[in-house]
């Protein structure tokens, strides 16, 4: 059993039509519904017909989020371990053809980064790499988890897709959570964005959350890269995927992210524009569709916009991020994956969260919880 046969029951065009055919009455029905909303409700909520309902969606999203997650916002920080990559992804600054200083952190460098990160009080860490399986493979990840496990309450990875057995090894070493974005569910166009390397295998990537679920991971993060294909259609596939996973791997928690394509050296500019208004509609639609899904927000978005989004359904955000390996403690030589937009320090972000009446939560897990 995997998501593939379910995915294959839906064509891209069919999903797009389903969304574009929604009327105001469908949106009203989705908003007024008591209990769990289904895929059709989600299609209505991301449809153009829902645009005039944005304020109502935001109010509902706010209420649902507070009820489930309280008046709190979880803080995390990414740590880039390596920018080595053998793949070409047309939207990414780490693509193999880009001329940039490549670096993979060793133990001593990692511990220096850890020290700098811990000085801010972070307990939830996101580890990021490109895809260079020989140097930055499972053995390396195992090593890294061993080195840093004592310092953090919760460890998440955003690295290449792996096999189930590999995930099982990493979970043994204390890995709590994996983020793996499909980038786009448009199967035909996926190939064009990923002309070289293992990431070009659409199906292997699509079935990765199944392998993670079977391996018993605590949390899986889904998402698409906003700016590649029609965001409404892609989002509906995320909703389909999420609904499937929630039933299949019921002990796993899920999160969604909404990375919006940002400029970086040597990458293509966005194919489709995703406006701030679209972005807000998307957050609210995810929240109303799933009251329990975590929604996280990165520093790709600009400060003033992030501050407003805080109330709309976001449950966690990164702060003070650097997107190059060694960015926290070792001086900058390598190039970043994408430009960050919110350059405030973690302390400034925490103060902003407090000003909005929320408690910034640094720790919401513990390594003893497995």
């Amino acid at each position: 059993m995997s998501f593939l046969p379910i995915f294959e029951q839906h064509s891209w065009e069919g999903m797009a039509e389903r969304i574009n055919g929604k009327q105001a009455a469908d949106v009203e029905r989705a908003l007024n519904k008591q209990g769990k909303r289904d895929l059709d409700d989600f299609c209505a909520l991301v449809s153009p017909a829902a645009v005039p309902y944005l304020e109502r969606m935001a109010q509902l999203s706010y209420r649902l989020t507070r009820k489930r997650f309280g008046n709190t916002t979880q803080l995390y920080i990414p740590m880039y371990l390596s920018n080595e990559c053998h793949n070409i992804c047309t939207y990414c600054g780490f693509s193999v053809h880009n001329k940039l200083a490549r670096r993979t952190l060793n133990q001593q460098q990692i511990l220096r980064e850890v020290e700098a990160i811990k000085a801010h009080g972070f307990e939830h860490l996101l580890l990021v790499t490109g895809e260079a399986n020989r140097t930055v493979g499972v053995d390396y990840f195992e090593q890294v988890l061993e080195w840093i496990r004592p310092y953090f309450a919760n460890l998440t990875m955003e690295v290449q897709a792996l096999d189930q057995a590999d995930y099982e090894r990493l979970i043994q070493k204390g890995l709590n959570s994996v983020l793996l974005y499909q980038e786009t569910y448009h199967r035909d166009n996926y190939r064009q964005y990923h002309p070289k390397g293992k990431k070009g295998n659409f199906v292997y990537r699509l079935e990765t959350p199944d392998r993670l679920g079977r391996a018993g991971i605590h949390r899986i993060g889904l998402g698409t890269l906003l700016g590649l294909e029609d965001w409404r259609t892609d989002a509906a596939f995320v909703a389909l995927h999420l609904g499937y996973l929630e039933r299949q791997y019921w002990q796993t928690k899920y999160s969604v992210s909404l990375p919006r394509l940002r400029p970086a050296a040597g990458v293509q500019s966005p194919n489709v524009e995703v406006t701030d208004r679209d972005f807000v509609q998307l957050i609210c639609a995810y929240r109303i569709y799933s009251e329990n899904v975590e929604i996280s927000l990165s520093t790709r978005e600009r400060p003033a916009f992030r501050d407003h989004l805080l109330k709309l359904g976001i449950t966690s955000m990164s702060a003070g991020s650097k997107t190059e390996p060694g960015g926290y403690a070792i001086e900058e030589e390598a190039l970043e994956q994408f430009e960050i937009s919110d350059e405030r320090t973690p302390e400034e972000v925490a103060a902003m969260i407090r000003r909005q009446g929320f408690e910034p939560v640094w720790k919401d897990w513990d390594s003893v919880l497995g």
């Binding site: 009820k67 309280g70 008046n71 709190t72 329990n292 939560v361 720790k363 513990d366 003893v368 497995g370």
Partner: protein, 259 residues
């Protein structure tokens, strides 16, 4: 206004309102709400506490005279993880009290009865004062009591839903049968529902979301304080039974002894 004190394994509580401390907009607000609620027992999630550090921010805001901490194991999925978490909590927070909470389902946070019973058996032998969070299952409550639980905490409705006493029929049986205090936990969304649970004969209620995300958490904490007290007073005053259907207006048994 005094009601009978509540005893749980040698600890005495005047207040029958327990508070959960997650979800507050700030630690100060959490502190102020606890004070306003008059609660003497407040839960603290192990996962929120920095165990290695001397001064944890959450814990330091809950150092209030007369208020005891009830560590909870929220986040664990198995009995094995729960035992480990309990031992750490005891060491870090210096208390034998434990709210045992095992929910492998991260969405509705519904408790696992099998793992909870297994963990209770182990932890009772290790001297913990265990208050297990469980579904409103009367047989399970008796099994937990036999295994050494100091109280039982059946849910009124799924956590955070504010739906009130959806499990009322089962709660009534649990209260009737229990040899240990019954604390109605989860789902209580309004002071009137807290009063309702107390009128039914629950020994205490635990409230979190309804206070933490209220427009004015401190005022809401006080409202729950009064409602809980009110319900308990009514219970102790032995309410007249509420008639569910009309009775025949002319007596049916008056003929007896008339011959």
């Amino acid at each position: 206004m005094k009601t009978e004190p509540l005893h749980i394994a040698g600890h005495t509580f005047q207040s029958r309102l327990f508070l959960g401390t997650g979800k507050f907009g700030s630690n100060q607000l959490m502190h102020d709400a606890v004070v306003a609620s008059g609660s003497e027992l407040v839960t603290v999630a192990l996962r929120r506490v920095r165990l290695q550090e001397q001064e944890d921010e959450v814990v330091s805001h809950l150092q209030i005279p007369g208020v005891k901490l009830l560590p909870n194991t929220s986040g664990v999925r198995t009995a094995k993880e729960a035992v480990l978490a309990a031992q750490l909590a005891r060491e870090a927070l210096q208390t034998n009290l434990l709210k045992l909470e095992i929910h492998p389902d991260p969405r509705y946070l519904l408790p696992d009865p099998i793992e909870t019973l297994a963990a209770t058996e182990i932890l009772a032998r290790e001297g913990f004062i265990i208050l297990p969070y469980i579904n409103a299952d009367p047989v399970l409550c008796k099994r937990l009591e036999d295994a050494g639980a100091a109280a039982v905490m059946p849910l009124g409705a799924p956590i955070g839903t504010n739906q009130g006493l959806q499990t009322r029929a089962m709660l009534e049986i649990i209260i009737e049968q229990s040899g240990v205090p019954v604390v109605v936990d989860a789902g209580i969304g309004a002071p009137s529902q807290a009063a309702e649970a107390m009128e039914m004969g629950a020994d205490a209620v635990l409230v979190n979301t309804a206070i933490a995300v209220a427009g004015d958490p401190v005022a809401m904490a006080e409202a729950f304080k009064l409602a809980t007290l009110c319900g308990r007073m009514a219970y102790e005053a032995r309410m007249g039974s509420v008639r569910k259907s009309a009775e025949a207006s002319s007596p049916l048994t008056a003929f007896l002894g008339q011959e």
